[in-house]
Symmetry: C2
Subunit: 247 residues, 2 copies
């Protein structure tokens, strides 16, 4: 996977995660580059990464973007985490939060929800394997590199995954216009919260299998919120509630 | 201003606002278009809009995008609202919310914050006139057409605008990492809430002139939230507080 850009490199250099595997960092071989780029190259060297230099056109070919700002990062493919192993680990924790995305299709939304999930302290993100955006360079960029800071599970069988969650003591909440207002909901210490597709929301069967539907009260003239905004509101309010409760 | 796409047209047809001025709706003159497009054309006709047909290449030239899905909407330029007139109107209300954006530069963030602001019931959005994204077709698209559902003010002199706000009984809150947790803050019925630039946050002088700094507590390993996520969290929590208070 090839990423590009100075901010992205800066963010990746700041991430301490075994899931982030940088193969090489490729800089432009142009002379007279500015000090920002030189400093980034120096920092990358100090941290022990393999550095290469090549013509800017070659960088553009690799990352398929002319505006690479003189730097391309060559990463190992994104590795998803095994769901059973993940759930076994979480079972030992007294509180746990899983963000479950039911067919989110816009890479921008997926990246934004990942960034929010890491900031709120969620333990894992689960995405459906069909009809979903995957972890691509665009998603990593919007996530500010944080896609590597949280385990991401790809769910093949949603019904089976929900069953596994319940067996391990999780309560499942699905966001839906017809649910309880999110701030009136008392979340379980172990919560999986489902956000649905941009157009259709959470699928009917998925909603039926969940324990509680939660909604975000808003102006009547507005159809719906952007799903990344909805996730930010609900996830941070759960954090607020647990803080106030002292959990 | 030219917008394109079926979802965008659908959203615009649903908006009832004197600020939205559709000059013409341009459809492809190709035969054998699908029923969705025919239905949209029918709906547009019923609502009394001027319809024209032209070759798809011409549509692409107008909106500068090949993937226009057979429809381009020709709008009057976006009209900003006069700040003094706006503030005079709001003075009569017992509660009012102004979302103030200090040099937000990413059109995606601006569009997302507009959509959130309309959903939360804010009365106006104010953007700085320098170093800010403006209301472009890209912004309107991300806002789901809602940029036309809320007055947008362009601030030339921030200090003067803040003075005007205070004279009219507004309290000014600025989001900042070092503020009071947002859920502990008791908002005034009349609130202006400031969100800052993606990289630098709210400018120092702007912070100093505001009444209260508010923060979003999050995991220590994370630098910051995306500003559109931060706005969603803070604005909806203010709505929650006012609802709980019965305001």
């Amino acid at each position: 996977m090839y990423l590009h850009g100075r901010n992205v490199l800066k963010e990746l250099l700041g991430i301490d995660s075994s899931r982030l595997r940088i193969k090489r960092i490729l800089f432009t071989n142009q002379r007279n580059v500015d000090t920002q780029l030189l400093e980034l190259a120096k920092e990358a060297k100090v941290k022990g990464f393999r550095i290469e230099e090549m013509p800017p056109e070659k960088l553009a070919n690799l990352c398929r973007e002319k505006k690479h700002q003189g730097v391309v990062i060559d990463l190992k493919e994104f590795s998803y985490v095994d769901s059973e192993k993940m759930l076994d680990n979480l079972e030992k924790q007294s509180t746990a939060t899983i963000v479950l995305l039911d067919q989110i299709q816009d890479p921008h939304n997926l990246g934004a929800i990942i960034r929010t999930s890491v900031a709120v302290g969620a333990d894992a993100i689960a995405i459906t394997s069909s009809n979903s955006a995957e972890i691509t360079p665009a998603v990593v960029k919007v996530s500010a590199g944080l896609a590597f800071s949280i385990p991401v599970i790809k769910i093949v069988n949603m019904a089976q995954f929900e069953k596994s969650l319940k067996e391990r003591g999780f309560w499942i909440y699905a966001s839906d216009m017809n649910g309880t207002p999110y701030y009136e909901n008392e979340y379980s210490e172990k919560s999986a919260i489902i956000f649905g597709n941009e157009g259709k929301g959470v699928r009917r069967l998925v909603k039926e299998r969940s324990d509680v539907l939660i909604s975000i009260p808003m102006e009547r003239t507005v159809d719906s919120l952007n799903v990344a905004a909805a996730a930010a509101i609900i996830l941070f309010d759960r954090r607020r509630q647990l803080t106030v409760r002292g959990a």
